[in-house]
């Protein structure tokens, strides 16, 4: 088990290094940070001084090393746009994005998995057909359109739910949560549906496909031949086997949710990392973009690691493989 984790972490390292390199390249070479920082009027002496200040006269690897060292300590410098430490900005925004993404993922799983199981088991019922059609529409609707339509319907016409923002939040240490207030929960509804819908349909289709695949296997036939109850066959044997690939894809989807949050946050002006990123793109705020990228990559790598561990827990074949090393 520890060997397995270590090997996974080691595999993640090159990914993180590659991302860090891209971020650094962006930081150092894209859009001439010196010109951005100096503004319009400057002398050559001022320029040279700044280049020295920033360490831009150092060899590439020294610069990259410094960048990495700083990044590991969470030091990404000041935002060009807001003149505040990048890490602080991101820390402020992370809870909003994570709460939104988790709610959306939860929603997607809570609805998507049962729908997938149902449509897998009862392939020809009218409800399955309805779910399938619904899911196709779900996959075909762009996230931003869903958001706009939900706002139009539930905020403007019906006036039931807020159209933007997080509502009131409660500060728990550095974490600001919207889960503890009524307005925070209300504000969460539309964005999380918008964000979760696409994933929900994706998960539903995935579970269905896996379910069909598993139901065709010999061990399911054998389980039926042993006279086990439908319940035991479908929800014991079939579902558990279905879950293995579903866990992977769901893990990957959680990453996708965080990325797609950029769109949802734009539509709902949700004060998360995605909105910060888009605003930074608009203002060429490279330090924020670089930091966002690295943190997202770290997040994804972590999610992947968790997925691998879950795999490990669900699938005994891996456990033995890991322990015996073959």
């Amino acid at each position: 088990m520890p060997a397995f984790i270590i090997s996974r972490v080691l595999q993640a390292l090159p990914v993180m290094l590659a991302v860090a390199l891209i971020s650094f390249a962006m930081f150092a070479y894209v859009g001439d940070p010196v010109a951005i920082m100096l503004g319009q009027d400057y002398t050559q002496a001022q320029r040279d001084a700044l280049i020295r200040d920033l360490g831009l006269d150092q060899p590439f690897f020294v610069q990259f090393g410094t960048f990495l060292l700083n990044a590991v300590q969470g030091e990404f410098g000041l935002s060009y746009r807001l003149s505040r430490p990048v890490i602080e900005l991101i820390a402020e925004r992370a809870p909003a994005t994570l709460e939104l993404a988790l709610t959306a993922a939860f929603l997607a799983l809570l609805v998507g998995v049962p729908m997938g199981i149902y449509t897998g088991l009862y392939r020809n019922s009218w409800l399955s057909r309805f779910f399938l059609t619904f899911s196709l529409i779900g996959v075909s609707l762009p996230t931003f359109l869903i958001g706009i339509l939900l706002i139009l319907c539930f905020s403007v016409w019906l006036g039931w739910l807020p159209s933007f923002g997080r509502g009131d939040t409660v500060q728990l240490g550095w974490w600001s949560t919207g889960f503890l207030t009524a307005s925070g929960l209300k504000a969460l509804i539309l964005p999380s549906i918008t964000l979760g819908l696409f994933q929900m349909t994706l998960i539903m289709r995935l579970v269905r496909a896996e379910m069909l695949e598993v139901l065709r296997t010999d061990y399911i036939k054998f389980a039926r031949a042993r006279g086990l109850t439908n319940r035991a066959v479908n929800f014991g044997h079939a579902l558990k086997n279905t879950l293995v690939p579903v866990i992977t894809i769901t893990g990957l989807q959680l990453g996708a949710i965080i990325a797609f949050a950029i769109v949802t946050e734009t539509v709902f002006q949700w004060p998360g990392m995605g909105l910060l990123f888009i605003q930074s793109v608009g203002a060429a705020d490279i330090p924020v973009m670089a930091a966002y990228l690295i943190l997202i990559a770290a997040l994804f790598v972590t999610i992947n690691l968790i997925v691998d561990l879950l795999y490990f827990a669900v699938d005994p074949r891996l456990r033995v493989g890991g322990a015996k090393g073959h």
């Binding site: 039926r224 005994p316 033995v320």
Partner: protein
């Protein structure tokens, strides 16, 4: 013919597959019975309908396949038209099944013990604790060493032969009266096949269980079965006591098969000496399905379909053994 009531009786079984090019008849007019304690071997080439017969008996035909005619009786009770829920109590409890590939038959995510326990607690009035004790007994019975420890192992921790032993334990643990074994040794190493067959045979005899043993290994049949049914293109070509069928086959197809019966472990494909191949279900010729390949074919074979009729020591579906056609053949001078 025995006087006792047969354990299993299959009467004129017909299985169809509706497709876009019309309905395919996968099994047509299949009839046979199995007596208590008897081992019936079923042989035939791939696609002859052996496995499908087994699937029809345990009520697990793959959709869209369906039983379109005939009856299946277990102890005189019709089971082919039972609702799914009732049929479930028959499966496992009254008819056990063994599948071809032990690698895929066991759920990889559950320990063998759990799979045994759930089978027993589903069918027998015992609790999990007792079921576990019996599960260890069963594993010992099928020859798993250190069964008490191995019960908590996962399927992938067993070798192929051991897994098939586990499958046998699973098929027998609810003490069914009939086992449908679908090519139980095909996927195994040659060296292990004989052990597993021997185990099956012993257990069936000890427990008084009947068995329908589907295989294309004539050697296995000769070793194990009491009677044998030879299938061709969805029908039974010949059926009879093993010794008779092997020694004195009647149907030209069987004759072709038995042309030279090599020692055990040789497989049907290798000794295939009949020219041509079995027709696809979508292109079964009129008359006798075997007529294009039959060395003794005559006009009637191309027109009418033969029924199973007594032919020497066995029963065969072949016009050669029909009183009427004997005249024709003689007239045609074909029966030289």
């Amino acid at each position: 013919m025995s006087n006792t009531q047969p354990l299993l009786e299959v009467r004129n079984l017909r299985v169809e597959f509706p497709t876009r090019r019309g309905t395919l008849v996968a099994l047509d007019d299949v009839s046979f019975e199995i007596q208590p304690g008897e081992v019936l071997g079923v042989v035939g080439e791939s696609g002859a309908g052996k496995s499908m017969t087994g699937a029809a008996i345990i009520g697990l035909l793959e959709p869209p396949g369906r039983i379109a005619g005939g009856q299946i009786l277990l102890n005189g009770r019709r089971i082919d038209n039972l609702p799914y829920k009732e049929m479930r109590t028959v499966r496992g409890r009254e008819i056990g099944a063994i599948f071809q590939d032990p690698l895929t038959t066991l759920n990889p995510l559950y320990t063998v013990g759990r799979q045994l326990v759930e089978t027993m607690t589903t069918h027998l009035p015992i609790g999990p604790g007792e079921a576990r004790k019996k599960a260890i007994e069963w594993l010992e019975l099928v020859g798993i060493p250190a069964a008490a420890q191995r019960i908590d192992s996962y399927p992938h921790e067993f070798s192929g032969g051991m897994r098939q032993r586990v499958v046998i334990a699973l098929a027998l643990c609810a003490e069914p009266k009939l086992i449908v074994a679908d090519e139980p040794t095909t996927a195994l190493d040659v060296s292990i096949q004989a052990q597993v067959i021997a185990l099956l045979k012993t257990l069936a005899r000890e427990k008084g269980t009947s068995m329908m043993l589907v295989t294309h290994d004539m050697g296995v049949i000769a070793e194990t079965a009491d009677r044998v049914a030879v299938m061709y293109a969805g029908r039974i070509a010949e059926i009879g006591a093993v010794r008779q069928v092997v020694k004195h086959p009647s149907h030209p197809y069987t004759i072709g098969l038995m042309g030279s019966i090599p020692p055990i472990t040789h497989r049907l494909e290798r000794m295939q000496q009949i020219e041509g191949s079995m027709p696809r279900l979508s292109a079964i010729p009129r008359g006798c399905a075997y007529n294009p390949r039959c060395p003794q074919v005559f006009a009637r074979c191309r027109e009418e379909r033969p029924e199973l009729t007594p032919a020497g020591e066995t029963r065969a579906s072949c016009w050669l053994y029909d009183a009427e056609s004997e005249q024709q053949v003689l007239r045609a001078g074909a029966h030289a």
